[in-house]
């Protein structure tokens, strides 16, 4: 239990760092760290396949795409950095406080003795589950990938001169 709490606190800290830091690269590192901690939590909850997906896609592939995009950007002047840091602090300093207070309030409100959780489903092979039970969702995944491909082609392709 202590381990779970530690991991959840780590997840919260990494997520807050991701959204509070003013540097894009640090933010990406924070995102990767958040995903890595989340994969450990998912792994400890006996979902190794989901944990592997989380680790490879969210902690691996997506940060690489972000870093590639950031490498195309330019640095701004130091004075601007200071100014934006101040603006950001004024705008967002309450965020961690709100998150913690809301979490505590929910925890208190959601303390329900009569919560009847359904029995855990038996272990199902994820491949069988995808192909036999969730094939409509699988079609959805294919279509959303196609939509993403159209988005890249339409929005990033330069017209021929």
């Amino acid at each position: 239990m202590a381990m779970e709490i530690l991991l959840l606190l780590g997840l919260l800290a990494a997520a807050l760092w991701t959204v509070m830091t003013t540097r894009l690269l640090r933010s990406v590192v924070g995102l990767a760290l958040t995903s890595a901690v989340l994969s450990i939590i998912i792994f400890r909850l006996n979902s190794p396949v989901a944990a592997v997906f989380e680790l490879s896609v969210c902690a691996g592939l997506i940060p690489v795409i972000f870093i590639t995009t950031i490498s195309f950007t330019q640095r701004i002047a130091k004075s601007q950095i200071q100014e934006r840091r101040r603006e950001r602090f004024i705008r967002f300093f309450l965020l961690p406080v709100i998150v913690v207070v809301a979490g505590l309030a929910l925890l208190r409100w959601l303390k329900i003795p009569a919560l009847m959780l359904p029995a855990a489903a038996g272990e199902t092979d994820v491949r069988l589950l995808l192909w036999n039970v969730r094939h409509l969702d699988l079609l959805g995944q294919i279509v959303i990938l196609l939509a993403g491909a159209f988005a890249v082609v339409i929005l990033f392709k330069e017209p021929r001169k």
């Binding site: 959780l117 359904p118 094939h135 409509l136 279509v143 939509a147 159209f150």
Partner: protein, 475 residues
């Protein structure tokens, strides 16, 4: 057979994009045929001429889908709106590549909408709503101008917030019910209705759907997205996309999954009434044709939600009928706005006037659409509003019934103001050379105006075959 509504557009999309030389015209004709066939099939299913679970075809593509009278009405609306948007897009996009991109994205959106309407599983509904949302972001920014990109970005941010809320809600529902199938979730939520986790899950999902529907106070993105999008895309967005991903899913989940209780009813009726009032008052003050129509959409969606919140069988039928009518007349009005923008080069209403003289079809169809929106007999909009108001009155919701009536008058006021500023009055000198926008615009406009008149005049047939059967989903 139901799976064909998803599989055929999907296969068409693949065929359209096989590398090699393709005819955009062929894709256009095939898409038009598909959308007409979809509307025709939905109508034939409703009249009982064809059985929707024809066994031979159902063996070919098997997805777990379900069909009821509400889904049929939606399939019909999607087919009609997609057909009208396709013709408008073909007329309004000039470059061949843009036409081709528009057809591809329209097909993606139709796959998403059809599957959303036919799915009977929360997670599947979520996935297909996302497909529609992704295609919408790209459609809005298809011409890559600054305003459109800004509109798409606002829509994307708001939509992402809605997505997060719904995803958290689905996670909580899985925690409580152990599944995402509508039937299992409905009985699971019913068994633990007093549980705060259940209340939180329903609240989060409703918030997400309010954002997607553009209901007040979550409407901020809607006028920007509608007015910044290319005209053909506005037709699709306002005509059907926000209604399927927001309003339909809200109706489906409240009726079939979350269950109707006094708290949800009060919330829906309040949101509906505030949206009616705010949308109508904001529309009164607009100078931009498309922004005025966007605020009018917020107001009309309010009527649908008000009917849903009243939750009697009559009110649900009225809400569904107003959904269909709103799809038809709002698609028509956005097509007219597109025609005006293309021919007159502006949609700022103060710069227009007297266009009826030069664009008689656009002017006449606009009158039909506005009268139907304002609820003037015998047009279709009159009957749907009458049903909603009668249901509110007979359920004892007198204050809401008064609001519905009063803001129908306000609706008439802002539309008459629009008609006077755009189509009536003296023709400006700069608009002397304006002429009708061409068959690609006038044919869908005339078709939609015809449906508005036919659904009003033939109201008792429509009521019997399409609307009253919807009441059975409450049982």
């Amino acid at each position: 057979m139901l799976s064909l509504f998803v599989s055929i557009p999907f296969l068409s999309l693949i065929v359209f994009n096989i590398p090699g030389k393709h005819s955009t015209r062929l894709a256009l004709f095939w898409s038009a045929f598909l959308f007409i066939a979809q509307s025709a099939l939905a109508l034939l299913f409703s009249t009982g001429i064809i059985n929707p679970v024809a066994r031979q075809l159902s063996r070919i593509f098997i997805f777990k889908l379900s069909l009821d009278p509400l889904s049929l009405l939606l399939l019909l609306s999607i087919g009609v709106a997609a057909f009208a948007a396709l013709l408008a897009g073909n007329n309004l996009f000039r470059e061949k590549s843009q036409k081709s991109n528009f057809i591809n994205l329209l097909m993606v959106a139709v796959i998403g909408m059809n599957a959303t309407v036919l799915a009977a599983d929360l997670f599947s509904v979520y996935i297909f709503m996302e497909i529609v949302a992704v295609s919408s972001f790209v459609l809005i920014s298809i011409q890559k101008d600054r305003l459109a990109l800004e509109g798409a970005f606002k829509y994307m941010v708001m939509s992402s917030i809605a997505t997060c809320l719904m995803l958290v809600s689905i996670a909580l529902i899985i925690l409580v019910c152990g599944d995402t199938d509508f039937g299992v979730v409905a009985s699971g939520l019913c068994a633990q209705s007093g549980n705060p986790i259940v209340k939180l899950a329903i609240g989060l999902f409703l918030c997400g759907l309010f954002i997607k529907s553009g209901l007040v106070p979550f409407h901020g993105w809607l006028p920007d997205a509608y007015s910044a999008a290319p005209s053909a895309v506005s037709v699709l967005l306002a005509g059907i996309i926000t209604k399927v991903t927001g309003v339909y899913v809200l109706m489906r989940l409240v009726i079939s999954v979350f269950g109707i209780n006094p708290a949800i009813q009060n919330l829906l009726m309040l949101a509906g009434a505030v949206s009616i009032a705010f949308g109508a008052l904001a529309a009164l003050t607009q100078h931009d044709f498309k922004r005025m129509l966007a605020y009018s959409s917020i107001s009309q969606v309010g009527y649908i939600i008000l009917g849903l919140g009243c939750a009697t069988p009559l009110a649900i039928a009225g809400a569904a009928f107003h959904f269909f009518n709103h799809t038809i007349f709002k698609t028509l009005l956005f097509i007219n706005a597109a025609a005006v923008e293309k021919q007159a080069g502006s949609i700022h209403m103060d710069n227009l006037g007297g266009l009826s003289e030069k664009m008689p079809v656009t002017g006449a169809t606009s009158v039909i659409a506005l009268l139907s929106t304002a609820g003037i007999p015998p047009l279709a909009g009159f009957w749907s509003k009458l049903i909603i108001i009668m249901a509110l009155w007979s359920a004892g919701n007198f204050a809401y019934a008064y609001i519905a009536v009063i803001f129908s008058v306000v609706t008439l006021a802002y539309f008459l103001s629009m008609q006077r500023r755009v189509f009536f009055g003296k023709l400006a000198l700069s608009l002397e050379s304006v002429k009708e926008a061409g068959a690609g615009i006038t044919i869908p406009a005339a078709l939609l105006a015809g449906i508005t008149v036919a659904a009003g005049v033939g109201f008792f047939w429509v009521l019997d075959k399409l609307i009253l059967p919807i009441q059975e989903i409450l049982r």
